[in-house]
């Protein structure tokens, strides 16, 4: 077990860094809109489910050769065709809450979910 000066100093620094990260994460949850990226790879949305807040942006980047879309299950929004490397996005409406199911319009077996949560106490 390392109890020397450098070990203690390293531990203090690591602790400070961890505390900083935690503070930043807490701040990030409340400091305005954020952008969430979903990759489309191997005919799947990755991650398949994301949690966002009203006003956030969701981006999809197509890592496959085949073209894809991200399209609301109810047809209310659509990124349009995303060729390889293309990015499409939507902004979550201020009044939106709950679960949004979406698919690839070209390959409907590809399914994803956006969960919209509010910061309300």
């Amino acid at each position: 077990m390392n109890t020397g000066r450098s070990g203690l100093a390293g531990g203090v620094l690591r602790g400070a860094a961890l505390a900083f990260v935690l503070v930043m994460q807490q701040a990030a949850a409340h400091d305005g809109p954020h952008t969430h990226r979903v990759h489309i790879e191997d005919f799947a949305f990755v991650p398949a489910t994301i949690t966002v807040r009203p006003g956030d942006t969701v981006e999809w980047i197509n890592d496959d050769i085949a073209p894809h879309t991200a399209t609301a299950g109810d047809g209310s929004w659509d990124t349009g065709l995303l060729s390889t490397g293309s990015v499409g996005s939507i902004v979550i409406g201020a009044d939106t809450t709950g679960r949004i199911d979406y698919i690839c319009a070209f390959h409907p077996h590809m399914r994803g979910v956006i969960v919209v949560e509010r910061d309300d106490p």
Binding site: D42, F43, D64, I65, A66, P67, S83, T84, F106, H107, H109
Partner: protein, 177 residues
């Protein structure tokens, strides 16, 4: 688990021209590139025919996916070939594929309605099954150029999605009942 369709006699020619993976001749990188590109081009031709002859939504949706996806894969292949500065080599497998496709298209043109839809759907399922096994068991292990191997592996993901889609199409059309 996906089943391996036993083709009806009328479709036997579709598979006879594409050897079983164990019987695929040894091909070099440039011949494999040519055969893979040719196989994609053939499926695009089948899809154009389906869009012209079928009114079934399941068939038309599938054909639209084939047009879009195989065009994208072949565009990526063309870009890679250009980057590598090489020319794919025609070979016996590519020629057999084209000859078999010509026979199939001639036969498809004599069909209409449900007969065409099932012939197209079953051919697509069988075609993707055989092509996918060939790509995974023969082409990818044999290729020596890493970018081509990577492209084939990426394309195989697409083609396997097509195989699953074709299986759903056949079931939806009731062709195997």
């Amino acid at each position: 688990m996906l089943k391996f369709v036993t083709p009806p006699l009328a479709l036997a020619a579709a598979f006879a021209t594409f050897p079983a993976p164990a019987q695929v001749p040894d091909l070099n990188d440039l011949e494999i590139a040519h055969a893979a590109y040719t196989a994609g081009g053939i499926d695009i031709r089948y899809a154009h025919l389906a869009m012209a002859l079928s009114e079934a939504p399941a068939v038309r949706d599938f054909a639209a996916v084939m047009l879009r996806d195989h065009s994208a894969v072949n565009e990526a292949a063309g870009a890679l070939i250009q980057d590598l500065g090489v020319t794919p080599q025609d070979n016996a497998l590519s020629q057999a594929l084209l000859a078999g496709a010509a026979d199939n298209i001639d036969r498809f043109r004599t069909l209409d309605g449900a007969a065409f839809d099932c012939a197209y759907a079953e051919n697509e399922l069988g075609y993707h099954q055989v092509v996918n096994r060939t790509v995974s068991e023969n082409f990818i292990p044999a290729v020596t150029v890493a970018p081509l191997r990577d492209l084939l592996a990426e394309a195989l993901v697409t083609f396997r999605a097509h195989e699953a889609h074709a299986e759903r199409m056949v079931a939806e059309l009731g062709c195997d009942s």
